[in-house]
C-alpha cells in the first residue's frame, strides 16, 4: 500500500505530532507514505465562489502530482482534506473550472479529477481495516473513554465529502474501539468549534468550543480526539479546559506501541 501524501503547513509546524505519529503508525500498519515534492499550502479554506480560480491551483497541483505518480492522495489535516477533495470534485464535475485550471497549470494531459483523495481515517477504515488494526494493537487503551470530535470539514457537505453519515458519523468511534478504548457519543461532535473566528472574535470560539467540550464531558468522555489542528487549538485554548484534546494519530501510535519524538511524551 503506497500513497502520495499531502501533510500541509500546520503539520510541519504547530501540529508536528499529528504528522509524526501518523508516519510512525503507518510503518507498523505496512502503509507506505510518500510525501509530495514541493507541495504548497492548500489555502486552508475551500474557495466557495465559483469564479475563484487562483486559490484552487495549489490543490490542483497536488492532485496532478499524485496522478503523475499513479497514487491515491493521502491527507491528514481536516482542512487540507476538505480543500483538496472539493477542488478535485470541481475538476470532475465543473467543465468550466476544469478548463481554466488546466489552462493555468498546463499539465502534460488535462487533469479531470482522476486522483482519489483519501483521508488517513478513510485509509485506516478502507485500506487497512479496523479489524486489522485491532490485531496489531500492542497497547490497547483500556479504560479510556474518548469522545470523537469531527468538526465540520471532514463531514460537510456530505454530497462531496462522502466521508460518513454527516449527522451520525461512526468512523472515529470505530477507530476508538479498534485501539481498545471506549467511544463516547455526544451531540455536538459534528458542530463547529468556532473555526477561524478565533482570531478576530475569540468570544464566539469560546462559546462554541466550550459547548462542544461540555457536551463531551457530560456524556462521560475523559478526553477528546480530532484530526484538525484548528479544532484542537480552539478546544484547548477556547474550551472549558475540562478535557484534554489529542490528535487521533497520537493515540493510534500509542496503541501500536510506536515510539516517537515530541507529542507522545505529553501526558493524556
Amino acid at each position: 500500500m503506497k500513497f502520495s501524501y499531502f501533510p500541509g503547513c500546520t503539520l510541519k509546524t504547530k501540529a508536528k505530532e499529528l504528522d509524526s505519529a501518523a508516519r510512525g503508525a503507518a510503518e507498523v500498519l505496512g502503509v507506505e507514505i510518500e510525501e509530495l515534492d514541493e507541495w504548497q499550502c492548500c489555502g486552508a479554506v475551500y474557495p466557495l465562489a465559483r469564479d475563484e480560480i487562483a486559490t484552487r491551483l495549489s490543490a490542483a497541483r497536488a492532485l496532478i502530482d499524485a496522478k503523475r505518480k499513479g497514487q491515491d492522495l493521502l491527507t491528514l489535516c481536516s482542512a487540507c482534506h476538505h480543500v483538496i477533495k472539493r477542488v478535485n470534485d470541481d475538476m470532475k464535475t465543473d467543465a468550466d473550472m476544469r478548463g481554466k485550471v488546466n489552462n493555468y497549470v498546463q499539465p502534460e494531459a488535462p487533469y479531470e479529477g482522476e486522483t482519489r483523495v483519501v483521508h488517513y481515517l478513510e485509509m485506516l477504515r478502507d485500506n487497512v481495516g479496523f479489524g486489522e488494526i485491532k490485531k496489531l494493537v500492542t497497547n490497547p487503551l483500556k479504560d479510556r473513554k474518548i469522545g470523537a470530535y469531527y468538526g465540520c470539514m471532514l463531514l460537510r457537505p456530505s454530497s462531496v465529502m462522502s466521508f460518513d453519515n454527516p449527522e451520525n458519523p461512526r468512523i472515529i468511534e470505530d477507530f476508538i474501539s479498534a485501539i481498545g478504548a471506549e467511544p463516547v457519543i455526544y451531540p455536538y461532535r459534528n458542530e463547529c468549534c468556532g473555526g477561524y473566528l478565533a482570531l478576530e472574535d475569540r468570544g464566539i470560539s469560546k462559546d462554541m468550543s466550550s459547548r462542544v467540550m461540555r457536551s463531551a464531558a457530560k456524556a462521560g468522555a475523559d478526553s477528546i480526539i480530532t484530526a484538525c489542528p484548528l479544532c484542537l487549538y480552539n478546544l484547548n485554548e477556547n474550551g472549558t479546559g475540562e478535557l484534554p484534546v489529542r490528535y487521533f494519530t497520537e493515540l493510534l501510535a500509542e496503541a501500536l506501541g510506536v515510539k516517537s519524538e515530541g507529542g507522545l511524551a505529553r501526558a493524556c
Binding site: N165, E167, N168, Y186, P187, E191, S215, K218, A219
Partner: protein, 656 residues
C-alpha cells in the same frame, strides 16, 4: 377531410381554410370542409350525412389529440355504417397550433400533418375487435382500509373478491392509529366493524400472511399465483385462545404493530382485534425453529393447531380484475440524524406517537417518554421530515396527512395533559379539506398549541432533555427549547412491495413508486394497464376519507368491468407474417405483456411447404405498443392499423 377550428384554439394559429384547400386535391379526397367545432352534435351528423352521400370509405379529421375525440369520430363513422377504424386523426392542436406562434409556419405544418393522415388512411383496412370472456372475481392486493373498503363494495354488488394481505392480519396502518382527524373518532372503533364485515362476507376470501407470487393474463382473464406463507398454525383448528402466546418463552422480538415500542412473543397475534384471530410463528424468533428445542406452544395448544411442519402453499386463481391497495410506510429516518432519531429513544415518529396515545398500545395510552417512562412536560413536533425535499434522502412531494395528524396529536396532548407545553414547527400548514382548517385553528386558539414557522435545525440529546434548536422565521429570532419528547412527522412512501407488484402487473409507476393513474383527472382509479385498478395511498398520499372514497371508486370500476360478459378488445394489435418470420425470438423477449409465443407451424414459402418455428400473437394480451415491430429484424411483425407500410407512407407524405 374535416378540419376543425376548435374555436380559436386551432384557427388563431392555423389558417384552416388554407389547410382545407391544400388537402382537397390529395389522392382519394372527395370532400374537404372545415367548421368551428367538429365535435359538436351538429357536425357529427354532418359527418354521418357526408359518409352516406358520398359513399365515403374513410375520413380524416384534422383536430385535437386522438386521446380526446377519436372515440367520438369513430362512433360517428360507425353510425353511418363505416368501419370505425377507417378514421384517421391529424392532431393539429396539441402538436401544432398550441406549440407554434407563427401562423404561416403552423399552417404549413398542419397541411403536412393532414397529408400524412390521408396517406395513412389510403392504406387503412377495416378492422374488427375481438371479444374475450370475463372471470367474475376480483383480487384486492393489500388489506388496509383501502383494500377492505374496495373488497366490501365489490362483494356488496354480488361479486366474489379475494384480499391478499402480506402481514398476519388485515387492518393495515389504520388499525395502529388512535383517533382520526378531524372528528376524533376512535380509529379502531370505526375500522374493526369493517374488518369483521370483510371476514364475515360470504363473497370475500381473506388470504393473510400471503403474497402475490405471479400474475399472468389480461383484463378479464388474469391468472394469479398466491403464496400462503406457512403460519405454522392450522387456521381450521386454532380457537384463538391465546395460551400459546402467553406460554411462549421467546418474548424479545420488537412488536411491528407497536412500532418497536414493545416486545412480542415468537408466536403472536399482532393485536387483540386481529383478523383472522389465528397466531403465526415468527420462525426467526422461535426457539423451536432456531434450535430444535422448545415446542412449548405445541404442548399447551389443546386444539392441536400448532404445526411446525407446515409449508408455504401456492394457490392459483383466476380473476377478471385486480386492485392494487398496497399502502404506505413512513420513510426510514437514518438520514435525518440532525433530529437525533437514532441517538435518543425520546425522539419518535408520529406513528410511534399514535401507539403511545392508544389505550391498547404499549403504555395503555399514557404518553410517557420511552427512555424513563416519565410524563413529558415539553413536547416538540417537527413537520415535513423528508417531505418536500429535493435532496437524496427526502421525497419531493408533500405527504399530505402530516399537518392534520400533528394538529390532532398536539390537541390530544393538551386535552389529556393540560400542564404540557406543545410546540409545532412547521414550514406551511396545509389543511385543504372539509373542517380541516377549523380543526387546526382549534389547536392554536383553543388548545394553545405553539405553532412556530421554521424548520428545526438540530436536536441535541443532553442532560436528559432534547435541546431543540430552531429559528422562528416570523419573529426572526432563535428558539432553543429543552424538550422532553420530540415527535417527527416523516414523509410517507409507497410500501416496498409495490415496485415488484408493479412489474408483475405491468402497471406503470412514477419516480416515487406510486402507481400511475390512467388519467390524473378523469381516470384517477384506473391504471393505464387494462383491468388494473388503484385504491388508497399506493396511488399517492391521501388521508382516510380520501382513501375510502377512492376505494369505493375503484370498486365501482371493478364492478362495471365484472358486470360485462364479454370485453371488446383493441384490434390494433401485432400480427406475424409467418413466411417472413425467422424464428429469432427477439419479439418475444421485448414484449412487455408476454403476448408473443413461438409455435411450430407449417409455412408455405416460395413454393416450399415446411414446418417452421414462428411467432404467434395472443391478441387478447397484446396492447399494441409496437415494440415487436421495430425489433423484428425480418419485418415479419406488423401492427394492425399502424403497419410498417402505413408509417412509411406517412413519412413519405411528410417529406414530399
Amino acid at each position: 377531410m374535416f378540419v376543425c377550428w376548435c374555436g380559436s384554439n386551432i384557427a388563431a394559429t392555423v389558417d384552416v381554410e388554407a389547410v382545407t384547400e391544400a388537402v382537397r386535391t390529395e389522392p382519394g379526397v372527395v370532400v374537404a370542409t372545415n367548421s368551428q367545432y367538429m365535435c359538436s352534435e351538429g357536425w357529427q351528423s354532418s359527418i354521418r350525412n357526408a359518409v352516406a352521400e358520398h359513399k365515403l370509405t374513410g375520413i380524416v379529421v384534422c383536430a385535437c389529440s386522438p386521446r380526446m375525440h377519436e372515440p367520438t369520430f369513430r362512433k360517428a363513422a360507425a353510425a353511418a355504417g363505416m368501419n370505425p377504424y377507417m378514421v384517421e386523426i391529424a392532431n393539429i392542436r396539441e402538436q401544432c397550433s398550441w406549440i407554434h406562434k407563427d401562423k404561416p409556419e403552423a399552417t404549413e405544418k398542419a397541411i403536412i400533418l393532414a397529408r400524412a393522415a390521408v396517406a395513412k388512411l389510403n392504406l387503412d383496412k377495416p378492422l374488427t375487435a375481438g371479444e374475450s370472456p370475463v372471470t367474475k372475481r376480483a383480487l384486492v392486493i393489500g388489506g388496509g382500509i383501502a383494500g377492505i373498503q374496495t373488497a366490501l363494495d365489490i362483494a356488496d354488488a354480488g361479486y366474489e373478491v379475494d384480499i391478499v394481505e402480506k402481514s398476519p392480519t388485515i387492518g393495515g396502518k389504520m388499525a395502529m392509529l388512535d383517533k382520526t382527524f378531524p372528528t376524533l373518532d376512535c380509529s379502531a372503533c370505526i375500522l374493526t366493524p369493517k374488518m369483521v364485515d370483510a371476514a364475515a362476507a360470504e363473497k370475500i376470501s381473506l388470504y393473510t400472511y400471503s403474497e402475490v407470487e405471479s400474475v399472468k393474463g389480461f383484463v378479464g382473464n388474469f391468472t394469479v399465483e398466491i403464496r400462503k406463507h406457512a403460519r405454522s398454525v392450522n387456521s381450521e383448528l386454532c380457537t384463538g385462545c391465546g395460551v400459546c402466546m402467553e406460554k411462549c418463552p421467546s418474548k424479545k422480538t420488537k412488536s411491528e404493530f407497536n412500532q418497536g415500542l414493545s416486545n412480542r412473543s415468537a408466536i403472536y397475534i399482532p393485536f387483540a382485534q386481529a383478523i383472522p384471530n389465528v397466531p403465526v410463528i415468527d420462525r426467526e424468533a422461535c426457539i423451536k425453529f432456531q434450535t430444535g428445542k422448545c415446542g412449548v406452544c405445541e404442548k399447551v395448544c389443546t386444539a392441536k393447531a400448532v404445526d411446525y411442519e407446515q409449508q408455504d402453499e401456492i394457490v392459483t386463481k383466476q380473476y377478471g380484475a385486480i386492485v392494487a391497495a398496497t399502502g404506505f410506510n413512513p420513510i426510514k429516518l437514518d438520514n435525518f440524524d440532525e433530529f437525533a432519531y437514532s441517538q435518543s429513544p425520546d425522539v419518535i415518529t408520529s406513528l410511534e406517537f399514535e401507539r403511545l396515545c392508544n389505550a391498547a398500545g404499549p403504555t395503555k395510552g399514557h404518553v410517557v417518554r420511552p427512555s424513563d417512562h416519565e410524563e413529558p412536560k415539553t413536547i416538540v413536533f417537527v413537520q415535513c421530515v423528508g417531505s418536500r425535499s429535493t435532496v437524496d434522502c427526502g421525497k419531493t412531494y408533500c405527504s399530505k396527512i402530516c399537518c392534520m395528524y400533528t394538529a390532532k396529536h398536539a390537541m390530544l396532548l393538551r386535552e389529556k395533559y393540560p400542564g404540557t407545553e406543545v410546540y409545532v414547527f412547521y414550514i406551511d400548514v396545509r389543511t385543504p379539506g372539509k373542517s380541516f382548517d377549523e380543526f387546526y385553528r382549534r389547536a392554536v386558539e383553543e388548545y394553545n398549541v405553539h405553532y412556530v414557522k421554521g424548520m428545526v435545525g438540530k436536536v441535541a440529546p443532553e442532560d436528559g432533555h432534547l435541546r431543540v434548536q430552531a429559528s422562528d422565521l416570523i419573529a426572526d429570532k432563535q428558539i432553543i427549547i429543552d424538550a422532553d419528547l420530540v415527535v417527527l412527522a416523516p414523509a410517507i412512501e409507497p410500501d416496498p412491495s409495490a415496485r415488484a407488484l408493479g412489474t408483475m402487473l405491468t402497471a406503470s409507476m412514477d419516480t416515487n413508486d406510486f402507481f400511475t393513474e390512467a388519467h390524473p383527472k378523469l381516470r384517477p382509479v384506473e391504471s393505464p394497464t387494462a383491468g388494473i385498478f388503484l385504491s388508497g395511498v399506493c396511488q399517492g398520499p391521501k388521508d382516510i376519507p380520501d382513501t375510502v372514497a377512492q376505494a369505493g371508486a375503484a370498486a365501482s370500476k371493478v364492478i362495471g368491468l365484472l358486470s360485462k360478459d364479454k370485453l371488446i378488445g383493441n384490434p390494433c394489435v401485432a400480427e406475424c407474417n409467418e413466411p417472413l418470420c425467422n424464428g429469432c425470438s427477439a419479439c418475444e423477449l421485448v414484449c412487455p405483456y408476454g403476448a408473443i409465443t413461438y409455435e411450430e407451424k407449417p409455412v408455405f414459402d416460395h413454393g416450399v411447404r415446411e414446418t417452421r418455428r414462428v411467432a404467434s400473437v395472443n391478441e387478447a394480451l397484446c396492447q399494441g405498443c409496437g415494440a415487436c415491430t421495430v425489433t423484428c429484424p425480418s419485418g415479419a411483425m406488423d401492427l394492425k392499423g399502424f403497419t410498417n407500410l402505413q408509417i412509411m407512407a406517412e413519412v413519405d407524405a411528410i417529406c414530399r
